[in-house]
Assembly symmetry: C3
């Protein structure tokens, strides 16, 4: 038996609470058109970077959510938009938040052109609710709405994503976070979450290429690239948690400056304290979530993948290596054929950002520069999995707005002591 | 001094137990032609996925094994055979099983066209038994038989593989498991083992290509791809261990559905219980083994690498991206040149399996489809490192046979509630 | 205000100790030309593989170091030199060693053709000393000298590297180790350190190619490849620590033969003993350091990355697979066009080293062989991230010189027992 939209409206009109038996023993989803006002948790307790938490409603003691898988237009950063697939208008889809012990009912509508399902990655649930298309359920065909229902028997940082044609559907951006809070309340002051991903949005194109396996163009936190990734804002001394999940094709080593953090758990729940491990870089495996926690220290601190190419924007590979090559004669001759041509790369690539920012270097349409971002001291030269943890003494609780750049106490910034290239007499190695 | 086959037959005929001094102070290998009946452990205590444990014989208190390195024909799944290299007729070679404290003597015959050795990866042994060609011993030339002998001073999950031209020899499939049981008996009800690997068997070819570094065609558990990988069968509530080793070129994140497992050790032995770590995905590094353990929960649960391309069969890379591209006019024109041509990929790749299964899409000879596998609810669409953990209430001890698909208790399977694409009024993000 | 070289010489001439206020409240760097004799720690307490520790001088209670970023000529192994970027004449740059609680002042002179900075990776310090160009400070322009100053509030294994155009600057070899010893003295007998890296030095070229992301030519320990990597020398029974950092583009699984080592910490400091994990292979993530410790066991033990291609020298990819291909007719015909052409690879690649060593096979100029290295029992066939841990009973404290090959106790080396290919009657799998 399947419900039509009309059935649902009727059901809702009749008062869902009074009709718990719709669709078997369960009610339909929230329907703002006719249903009583839905209780919304405007942003949830987790701060999803550049994202949001999905409102739910309580229906007969069950938390009801409604995910819609659909094609969307997504902006990776100003200057780069693509047709992606996501949920409820965004990639990643909205974060689902609930509490250990909750019973949840999740409606999933498929507005994609091909079948899908949702796999609740890391959740302990009945086999038939596990969402593996063909194995645990039939696939959700385009146009259909299916319902999942289960009780949350754990807490921790989790994910959801399709388990049908997942190579394509993941490559197009279908993923989301599922955070289950412990019943007894939480212990951190700030709780951030984001997913690592990669998109093969080749320069000049508008749809990610799902056949790419390794060499991606865009390396993202919550489907955004620097400088469009939100900063992580906290007050000095606060206990901060980052919940980081990975649905990309690489095991990314995520590095945080300024502190030694503790790895406290992930989708295996919160580990016993004796297992918390001090690190400055943690590999987040594909299909894995990691919670890292630290006491916020005042300053502007980089947070990024440490694979150097993953903090870059789209770039050419397989191009000639011009490092150290004097291209002056060549440049003039090429310029006759290609007016405006610039020979670059003799001294490194840092000049690329200057030329891009100044408008001298133009890339293909709808394509970001390889390096981007302005800091308080000039260009930052990053373009992928990079953002800044901004810790200040005067951030109000619940304030996640960008406080601007850090104002360093006097004498705490590296400074120039000479412009003489022959400065001092540095030690070189003695053969001994 | 080296022994000829005739010497050996004579030795065996004379009663090996009475001639412990053959080949120095040690006896030759088991020789069923003339020797007294060999005690065989038919499958060993470890269940090697799609594999087997090598029988041994006791000779003067020493456990004797005989490995033969040789060229073999191997089937990755029906429809894909290749000339590989392995041991005793298979890739991976047979699992060696012994008990902590055992003295083992392992004969290795080289029937390959080039030299080899065997390195006992992770074992604590004399430097000259470590099997690094050129460093710890001369190489074993084609046709020769060498013997290794040492006492097992540890227990845990280990591997063996060549240490001569290992880039080629590993790429061709030469590897095996070496499981050492603790002396005091074991604590799990079911004990599975398998090795992660990758083969560059390019479409239409019959030998893996050893020069490939990253972009492989076949991603395997014990040299098999889904759906030819055995299911992992257990009874509800049993303590199950998976011993997973990796001799591929990628650090694979292995994900198990349905439970939070514990990582309990690996080739570093069994860790103290206080170190067991709860996870749903564990990265198995290359050259690393991990033991993961869990209590079996009824259902059909996917076990797979979470890098999406590693659960796919052979596929093209660098092909045009047809997602969202209306190819109707083009299709007809191409069909005039290539009769039967099908434009695909506009709506995703899920249709590929349907066309393959229906016989519409034919790939190159001796080449698997990108997606394969039938489940109880339709096609599963997987093709590499993927299998199913099948847990039932009524599996008999020692029964590893496939119990078929799970029969879900009523009301525990996700279900359709509507076919109306406009179902409900899902919440989208508010700009605020 | 900036200092000229002349200012500095004057300052030094006047006695730096008496002029602590140069360049703000701090003194200039050591200047052997005129300054009083510098106290040098000839090798430091850490043994940097193929490397060195930078001497410092004490100035008003502050340890002063001077790093010079510059272009250098570097030899990866005899036969392969390249123009790289490094510090003080080497890649990696010299190791900085200090003690927890020390105040350090580090002068950095930029003699590169583009801007740079130094990021003190993993150190807890003021935000303005963190070295992220544009974010924590202006970039250090070519010719300039800047100074960093901070107090070390931790101990452990750390790194330094640029944070400006770091994709290029890391690809060219700019990196170094920063080891902070605990105040109360140390607990190991031998303390080694090295960094994992990769260089895209394409065959026949002389500068690494910074646009390469995955598929490198040279896989290095401290910018050297086997057999040019120093052995790790220890006396039997000594407690040995290896501090291994990774600034490459891959998370490398490092495998040690002969022992189960303990992973005891890294750039998160030394972990509590209850967290030490027994392994034989440890993944060192990019941007991560790991300390591994073990009791030295007599012998020659391989230490290497376990990704098989990472122990190879430069090699072709995308070449035809000749395994099993009888090329005799073809060889003669090609030889008519290419005198001296050798058909290879039919039986594996082990023969490559023999042909290279014998001079039959010549590669491009300035390009290493794919396999190299001679051991006591013949060619070893390795060429990248590979070295030997050499443990002997009679190594003197502080002696790191190569003791030659291990002399095995009688009866402890694998040995040949037959040259008959039909030796024995090895067991093959029974279908059952």
């Amino acid at each position: 038996m399947s419900l039509t939209r009309r059935d649902l409206l009727l059901a809702a009109g009749a008062g869902l609470a009074a009709r718990p038996a719709v669709a078997g023993s369960q009610a339909g989803p929230a329907n703002p058109e006719v249903a009583p006002p839905v209780r919304r948790t405007p942003g949830g307790r987790v701060h999803t970077l550049n994202g949001w938490s999905l409102p739910h409603r309580i229906n007969g003691g069950v938390k009801e959510f409604h995910l819609v898988a659909e094609e969307i237009e997504h902006e990776f950063a100003p200057g780069s938009k693509a047709i992606c697939w996501g949920y409820n208008g965004s990639t990643p889809g909205p974060t689902l938040e609930a509490v250990e012990g909750d019973r949840v009912r999740i409606f999933v509508t498929n507005r994609l052109p091909e079948p899908t399902t949702v796999h609740w990655h890391g959740l302990i649930l009945p086999s038939g609710m596990d969402g593996v298309g063909g194995l645990s359920q039939p696939k959700i065909q385009p146009g259909e709405t299916w319902v999942y229902e289960f009780t949350l028997r754990q807490h921790g940082s989790h994910m959801y994503h399709p388990h049908v044609d997942e190579m394509v559907q993941l490559a197009m951006g279908m993923m989301g976070l599922f955070v289950i809070h412990p019943r007894g309340g939480d212990h951190v002051d700030r709780d951030f979450a984001f997913l690592l991903h990669n998109f093969a949005l080749h320069p000049g194109t508008r749809r990610p290429d799902p056949s790419v396996m390794q060499d991606f163009d865009l390396w993202t936190f919550n489907s955004k690239v620097f400088p469009a990734i939100e900063p992580i804002v906290a007050r000095s001394g606060e206990r901060v948690r980052l919940r980081i999940g990975n649905l990309s094709m690489w095991n990314h080593p995520i590095h945080l400056h300024g502190v030694q953090f503790e790895v406290t758990g992930g989708d295996g729940g919160r580990w016993p304290k004796a297992q918390w491990r001090r690190e400055v870089t943690e590999i987040i495996g594909v299909g894995q979530m990691r919670d890292i926690e630290f006491e916020a220290v005042p300053g502007d601190w980089a947070l990024h993948c440490h694979m150097a190419h993953h903090t870059m924007g789209p770039m050419g590979h397989g191009i000639p290596n011009t490092l150290g090559v004097d291209q002056r004669g060549v440049e003039e001759r090429i310029r006759k054929m290609l007016p405006g041509y610039m020979a670059m790369g003799r001294d490194g690539m840092a000049e690329h950002q200057e030329h891009t920012d100044s408008g001298h270097m133009r890339g293909p349409e709808n394509t970001l520069a390889m390096m981007a971002g302005k800091g308080p001291f000039g260009s930052i030269g990053m373009g992928g999995m990079f953002t800044v943890v901004k810790v200040r003494d005067d951030i109000a609780p619940g304030d996640f707005s960008d406080p601007g750049w850090y104002r360093h106490p006097p004498g705490t910034v590296a400074r120039r002591v000479s412009s003489d290239p022959g400065f001092g007499a540095p030690v070189r190695r003695q053969n001994s």
